[in-house]
Symmetry: C2
Subunit: 517 residues, 2 copies
């Protein structure tokens, strides 16, 4: 179908109506505004249709769907929820210019992708911008993600998407070099980043790490870091802290670096969609936007990981390196073992505590090992360490507690709340899952453990999660504790325990080798 062209959209916004603002103390996440029925009719818009709001004072604009009312707002007044207020930077006595918003052109490009056709860079850019600026609805954005999931992306599409995401926001310009970065394709627990960043910063390189919140895991790095310190930093703060201390760990969604990415994550979330092309573009856009020149990508491979086999991992790795090349970055990809938990913790607070214990020298297991290996590769990549010497350098930094000291500096710079693993706040409620028989722990299913932690409330409840009491290979006897489940909500705790014990999820039998040794 021919859609109205871009020129028409511009024309539509020439007409607008000035309105007073009434702010409602409601957090909705969805972008909604409320018009009096008469104004809606006057503007020619109906519930669920879109209007564009422009604030002449702050110069910000946003597109929202409308609800209508006969009594909640007056004529010539528009009702605004907190989320829209925040975007527009509104005060109660502001006025807004309100106009109908036609369907953006990018809806036609989404339809093209649904038909399985390759999109041009211009079309990709239009879609990414319209998602970032809320000009397309969640229904439209979801159909786009489904189409990308099913049809995949070409390399030129990924490069275009990366640039569109990166150019849609601010760019970090550090005055120091080398700027390095690290990213792990999710699926595994354990907060390697909380150990790796202070190691790198101690080695004299600059790592402005913008981390994500959880999509399908029990905790994202941002969720875990938030237990310890502020993670919503401005671009100016990231610059200042990184230049001074060498590293920062903040939430990527909290800054205007590739802001479209977080809208996309929100859409992918409910169905756990993360098509390869989108994952690569999302990651590379954030790295491009912070000005990273050296980048290590960790792809955990395992039957329950996002990337479930080696072949897929290698193909993905090649695309990462290629996209990096086209953006002027040196990228190395490490395929890592995704068949076992990293450390023993699942959930923001528990994983933050575990990483702190590793930095404090109280623990050193596969989590610390992996952090040193990845840090080592990155040190070699940016020329700070000779080939094959990176890991030793990283391990020395960790074991000498230099990394721990650096972490305390970072926490302090980020307005830290917790500076010791012993001070990490714990959930009110705890349940222990015990072995139903004797045996040996032959296998641990990371995905099911994540599921238990999520049912317990993680990551929304930061203190919810799972702490394993056993390791792979351990011999256990009937009645012995296998894991502790933490939650602040009784019903979620009960459900998680039930799931761990009885449901299709994690059963103790599955933790235990079937035949007794």
């Amino acid at each position: 179908m021919e859609e109205p062209n871009d020129d028409m959209n511009k024309t539509a916004t020439e007409y607008s109506q000035k309105m007073g603002v009434k702010i409602f103390d409601i957090e909705s996440k969805a972008l909604i505004s409320i018009l009096h029925e008469k104004d809606a009719r006057e503007l020619g818009v109906f519930p669920l249709e879109r209007i564009e709001l422009v604030c002449p004072r702050t110069k910000k604009r946003v597109v929202t769907v409308i609800d209508t009312t006969k009594s909640m707002v007056k004529i010539d007044q528009i009702g605004i929820f907190k989320d829209v207020q925040k975007i527009l930077g509104l005060k109660e006595d502001d006025e807004l210019m309100v106009s109908p918003s036609l369907q953006p052109e990018s809806v036609r490009f989404i339809k093209k992708k649904l038909r399985g056709l390759e999109l041009t860079p211009v079309e990709i850019t239009a879609i990414v911008n319209d998602i970032a600026q809320n000009r397309v609805s969640e229904i439209e954005a979801s159909a786009f993600m489904a189409a990308v999931y099913i049809h995949g992306n070409t390399l030129p599409e990924i490069v275009a998407m990366t640039k569109a995401l990166a150019n849609g926001g601010e760019r970090l310009q550090l005055s120091k070099t080398p700027v390095v970065d690290k990213h792990s394709i999710g699926g595994i627990n354990g907060r390697v980043t909380l150990v790796l960043v202070p190691i790198m910063a101690s080695a004299g390189v600059y790592i402005p790490k913008t981390a994500s919140r959880s999509i399908t895991s029990a905790a994202g790095t941002a969720d875990a870091m938030e237990v310890l310190a502020d993670v919503e930093l401005s671009v100016a703060q990231i610059k200042q802290i990184t230049e001074k201390i060498g590293g920062v760990i903040c939430w990527g969604g909290g800054v205007e670096l590739a802001p479209g990415d977080d809208k996309i994550i929100k859409i992918e979330h409910p169905l756990s969609l993360d098509p390869e092309g989108q994952v690569i573009a999302s990651v590379m856009a954030k790295k491009f936007a912070v000005g990273a020149k050296y980048l290590i990508i960790d792809i955990p491979v395992g039957p329950d990981m996002k990337v479930d086999n080696r072949e897929k991992a290698e193909a993905m790795a090649k695309r990462f390196v290629e996209v990096g090349k086209r953006l002027g970055m040196k990228v190395e990809v490490a395929l890592t073992d995704g068949t076992e938990p990293l450390g023993r913790a699942f959930g923001p607070a528990l994983e933050a505590k575990y990483a702190l214990e590793t930095l404090e020298g109280k623990r050193f297991d596969n989590l610390g090992e992996k952090a040193c290996e990845l840090a080592g590769l990155l040190l070699e990549l940016c020329g700070k360490a000779p080939k094959k010497k990176g890991k030793i350098m990283a391990k020395n930094i960790l074991q000498s507690r230099k990394a721990h000291k650096k972490m305390l500096e970072i926490l302090k710079a980020q307005n830290g709340k917790v500076f010791s693993s012993e001070k990490v706040p714990m959930a009110k409620l705890k349940a222990t899952v015990i072995a139903q028989g004797d045996g040996v722990i032959a296998n641990m299913n990371v995905k099911r453990l994540v599921e238990v932690a999520r049912i317990a409330g993680a990551p929304g409840d930061a203190q919810a999660g799972v702490l394993l009491l056993v390791e792979k290979g351990n011999t256990v006897v009937k009645g012995q504790g296998l894991m502790e489940i933490y939650s602040n909500n009784k019903q979620k705790l009960d459900l998680a325990k039930k799931y761990a014990l009885e449901s299709s999820g994690l059963e103790p039998q599955q933790l235990i080798l079937q035949e007794i040794m």
Copy 2:
């Protein structure tokens, strides 16, 4: 990923909190309720997460997403918008049982469809029910529709979807026979149904026509009928009117007949997605639910129609007949000409007026002709007319004004507002598009004319639309009026005229043969 199983969902709802109700005078279409931040924390839910509300008095339940507030509702009180109030049948002094709602199992089946796998009838049923009952979000439902659009549906999937849609609501049980029905796959203008239903009812058969509102066209039959009479009837009213008068024309979305269908239409709407399997299931479910035994399906075929070639139309026709057979219905499919407008009107009021004029004997063109042809086929199919005699019978009923008299009875029974083509209310504003040169009208692009009508505000503004002043083959001179555009909104009228004149849409040149005769 393993999801919590159904048993767990049941467990989750065992826990609930009793709350008072505060009703907000807001129409939102989306299902939202507002919790005090403290209650949300207590329940362990966060903005955009879902809760289930049960009203002990009305025994109704609904799943909504939540917004949170510090001040708009009190602790132990839940804020409800009009749409949720309506579903639950709530009064201000009602109490609700509120509990967290886990992600329904059908989200896993949606993911399966995204992967391109065939769904079982049980899985299809779960998805349809969860969409109908708002247990899956719009994001999830949209991804499902995209997957169906891309991967298609198998015949067993279509049959399962049809039954699930039909069984999700009430069923109409008429005491009279034969019960017939008609459906047209959209894309073309002209309200054949408004002419056909009174013809059939005059012939002594029963036609409880539940019509749709527009998805991608300038007007649906329900939109046009609503200009003349009430279209939101109860199942009891449909039964009573049809049994007494022989026919009814109401909005299918206004009754509890296959209610899931209208949720699906709402999701398909923004992207104009209507995958074949979904179209067949939606149509057949409505027909099955009204108890139709004889059904004629009209598929307009043309380059700009939903079905753009004969091969596709024939394949679709076979599936309609086959699904009908499995549901115990006799189905005949007519492939019709979709290359020319039906009559001259586009838009609810203009099309309603045009159909009335046809019934009143003031017009007889391809619109009346088609109504008689389809009515004729239906009369033959149900045995009211001998083979090859149906059209003559239908034409006699129309030309003798019996159909007109019957239409007035139907309008009266449906609380009619307008009983004459001369009384149809017209838009405040009108613009005339004139020929930019001399020529002959060689071609009319239905899709672009629909687009002009939609930009003018149709079907949301029922009086908006297009009335053609010329027909295919007419000779026109420079300055002669080609079409009138109607709207109640100045900016939409201007945009529509601009689109008709200049844009990629309808240009006068395209209406006019390039060489002067």
